[in-house]
């Protein structure tokens, strides 16, 4: 069985936990976020007949008072950055979070989920923002915890990318 550690990182309130909770197997409650600061779930994805277990480290969101502990990110095989598409500030902190992740786990596959895609009226990101992501080499998807849009795709891409990546980090 192949297992991959995937860290979900984002600013507080971007909907990380809601995004995945219907799609993953979990035995720990949300209160772990406020205590230990991380909640661990499992998602099994089939990649061309090979089952890959993604062990998801749903790290408590960053806010003004609390930074994301780097120790939770180390050794990650992939990252899922979650941005709240209705709050531009969460988008602007992406580069910062990426630097944090890169510092802890090296250059591993990463994906940006532009979440809350169902709230079209309040959408705060522009075509140019998304184009900028592509330019910077980010893979991104518009996701919605409400409709479930692209959630499975995000996991599928991450699992596939970790298999292709295969490289060992320093």
């Amino acid at each position: 069985m192949i297992q991959k550690k995937v860290c979900m990182v984002g600013v507080y309130g971007t909907g990380k936990t809601s995004l995945v909770q219907q799609y993953v197997h979990s035995i720990f409650s949300v209160k772990y976020h406020s205590t230990v600061g991380v909640k661990i779930d499992r998602k099994v994805v089939d990649i061309g007949g090979t089952p890959v277990t993604l062990v998801l480290w749903d790290v408590a969101g960053r806010d003004a008072t609390q930074d994301i502990p780097a120790s939770y990110l180390k050794g990650a095989h992939a990252f899922l950055f979650v941005v709240d598409g209705t709050r531009r500030t969460t988008f602007e902190q992406l580069a910062d979070l990426r630097a944090l992740a890169r510092g802890a786990a090296g250059d591993v596959p990463a994906m940006v989920a532009l979440n809350k895609a169902d709230l079209k009226a309040e959408w705060a990101l522009t075509e140019r923002d998304e184009a900028a992501l592509v330019t910077e080499g980010w893979h991104h998807l518009r996701t919605s915890a409400k409709t479930g849009a692209c959630v499975e795709e995000a996991f599928g891409w991450l699992a596939g990318a970790t298999l292709r990546d295969g490289s060992k980090r320093p």
Partner: protein
């Protein structure tokens, strides 16, 4: 060589022929190439001396092994797989040699194993007895019943020192689960998530208390569970222990973890999330699973107590059995005595088997009580009763009487009693029966005489009514007079006619009826006067009855005077009642003499 030829200056003296063996040349060579030459020579020597090095190694190997072996266990661990393979190969090739070699150790080992198994068995029997009869055992049974938990689990829970329930091998950096061991009966799901969370908690504690560099969380307890965590550079070993883990457990985990690091060094280096290579570590983890119960118990006083625990119930059981046997024997004796005392039963033998089966032999009068009923009346179980009786006629009075009753078909109103060999018949019986008894020619067996003087005859109902009517009549007289008052005289024709009717009817049954007149006076006056007065009163009545057709020979007169007065309430009433003549009908057999008296 021509002089005009331009020749360069011969600085090195190369133009002149040189002698390689010359001192100058050697010196020059030494100056220019000395260092390199020595290195080359050393290399050449080493290449040439390959064989020599093996010899050197052979010389130094024991020393090196001893040195490294003394330092740590790495050498042993490194050699173990090779030695395992070597032994396996050796066994495959020549099993007989191996068998011969290990034979001397095999016997003692087997004996030791058997002895230990037996000791364990005795210990477990002792413990079972102890648990069964001790207060604590009862308490545990109660707990098992109350909580619905099987009793063995309760025993384990209370006698458990510790139990290593789960062992996780975790990749230290990523927190991914590499291998996991747990007993089959313990259903563990999501070991991978627990593994991740254990790592996260370690990181959390490290971050929170800034202990990342100097140490990590090694032990934490949750209720009855303790989690021991041994962190290595590549992998972390976590053991979940129920109960109190001994101090030796953590070092054992350390050792195990070092071994895993050594064996799986390559797998760790290549690890990108595939745990398959670590499946081989499973057995190493399973060796860590263990359950330790309290078996070392102090001997001495405790051992004696244990004997008491055996002995007390045994004594109780023996006492109970003894008491039951004694009681059974006692009841048997009582029953036999009761049967022997019973008239008409003669026991010749009485036995009772261990199974409680009765075996009785003897004589029994058919009229005697039934033995089974007697035994049942004593509360005995008569289901297994095996009784054989030979019939005989008993001369016991009660049975003689019973036989006479049967022979005479005596009605229930008749009482029979044996005095010597005379049967006394008393009570009352219908006239025909009385007539038959009095005219009896053959007496019942065991009876030589019959006394029926106390036997009264009961008449058929219609005649009994007539008799009652006659005997209910009473003729009153005035004070001191024997003259019949007119009203009283008028009562006599009815009485006379009733008597004549009765006389006729009883004569048909072979009986003679007599009418007895009983005359009385009140208590005043002298006895002589009263006697004579009562006689006069009888005669007055007799005279009238005779005139009315009653044969005088059937009338008997008795003057009672004041003796045997009639009872009556109040003195005046009693005086009046006794100034009277009353009637009584006497029945007697027409022909007497056939009945001996």
């Amino acid at each position: 060589m021509p002089d005009d030829r331009a020749t360069p200056p011969d600085y090195l003296g190369l133009a002149t022929p040189y002698d390689p063996a010359s001192e100058e040349f050697a010196e020059l060579r030494e100056l220019l190439l000395g260092g390199e030459r020595r290195e080359l020579e050393e290399l050449k020597r080493r290449l040439d001396a390959q064989g020599l090095q093996v010899e050197e190694l052979a010389d130094r190997l024991p020393e090196a092994i001893a040195l490294r072996g003394g330092r740590d266990g790495q050498l042993a661990r490194a050699l173990a797989p090779t030695i395992d393979d070597a032994i396996r190969e050796s066994v495959r090739q020549s099993p007989r040699d191996i068998a011969t070699a290990i034979f001397p150790v095999l016997g003692p080992a087997i004996r030791k194993a058997i002895a230990e198994t037996m000791a364990g068995l005795v210990e477990s029997i002792n413990r079972a007895v102890e648990h069964t009869f001790s207060l604590r055992g009862l308490k545990w049974r109660l707990e098992a019943w109350r909580t619905g938990t099987p009793y063995p689990q309760i025993v384990i829970k209370h006698s458990l020192v510790y139990r290593v329930e789960q062992v996780f091998l975790i990749h230290t950096e990523t927190g991914l689960l590499l291998a996991h061991a747990a007993p089959a009966e313990l259903k563990v799901a999501d070991a991978d998530l627990v593994s991740g969370m254990l790592t996260a908690i370690q990181d959390f504690v490290g971050d929170s208390f800034r202990q990342q560099e100097t140490g990590t969380l090694r032990t934490f307890s949750v209720g009855e569970l303790t989690v021991l965590v041994e962190r290595g550079p590549q992998a972390t070993l976590a053991a979940v222990v129920r109960g109190q883990p001994p101090d030796t457990l953590l070092p054992r985990l350390q050792e195990r973890l070092e071994l895993i690091h050594l064996r799986f060094a390559a797998a760790f280096a290549d690890f990108t999330g595939d745990a398959a290579p670590f499946a081989l570590a499973q057995s190493a983890l399973e060796e860590c699973l263990e359950t330790v119960l309290q078996h070392q118990r102090p001997r001495g006083a405790h051992g004696k107590l244990l004997w008491l625990r055996w002995a007390a119930p045994a004594v109780l059981v023996v006492a109970l059995l003894g008491w039951l046997a004694w009681r059974s024997q006692q009841r048997f004796r009582v029953a036999v005595a009761r049967l022997e005392a019973e008239p008409g039963i003669e026991l010749t033998s009485a036995e009772r088997s261990i199974g409680g089966r009765w075996r009785l032999r003897g004589l029994r009068d058919p009229l005697a009580a039934r033995p089974a009923a007697i035994l049942a009346g004593l509360g005995m179980d008569t289901i297994g009763l095996d009784a054989r009786w030979k019939p005989y006629a008993s001369l016991e009075p009660s049975l003689t009487v019973a036989r006479a009753r049967q022979a005479l078909s005596a009605p229930a109103t008749v009482t029979l009693r044996l005095g010597g060999d005379t049967l006394f018949v008393s009570g009352s019986a219908p006239l025909p029966w009385v007539a038959r008894v009095k005219g009896l020619a053959v007496l019942p067996s065991g009876v030589s005489a019959l006394d029926h003087s106390a036997l009264e005859t009961t008449l058929p109902p219609d005649l009994a009514a007539v008799k009652t009517d006659i005997e209910g009549g009473r003729i009153h007289f005035d004070i001191g007079s024997a003259a019949l008052l007119p009203a009283e005289r008028d009562l006599l024709p009815a009485i006379a006619s009733a008597f004549l009717q009765l006389r006729g009817a009883t004569a048909g049954l072979g009986y003679r009826s007599e009418l007895e007149l009983l005359g009385r006076t009140d208590p005043t006056g002298t006895d002589a006067t009263n006697q004579s007065l009562s006689r006069s009163r009888v005669e007055s009545v007799r005279a009238v009855l005779t005139r009315l057709g009653v044969p005088s020979q059937d009338i008997r007169g008795t003057a009672l005077g004041t003796s045997k007065p009639l009872p009556e309430q109040g003195d005046l009433d009693q005086a009046r009642a006794n100034r009277s003549v009353v009637f009584q009908v006497r029945l007697s057999l027409l022909s007497s003499g056939a009945v001996p008296r």
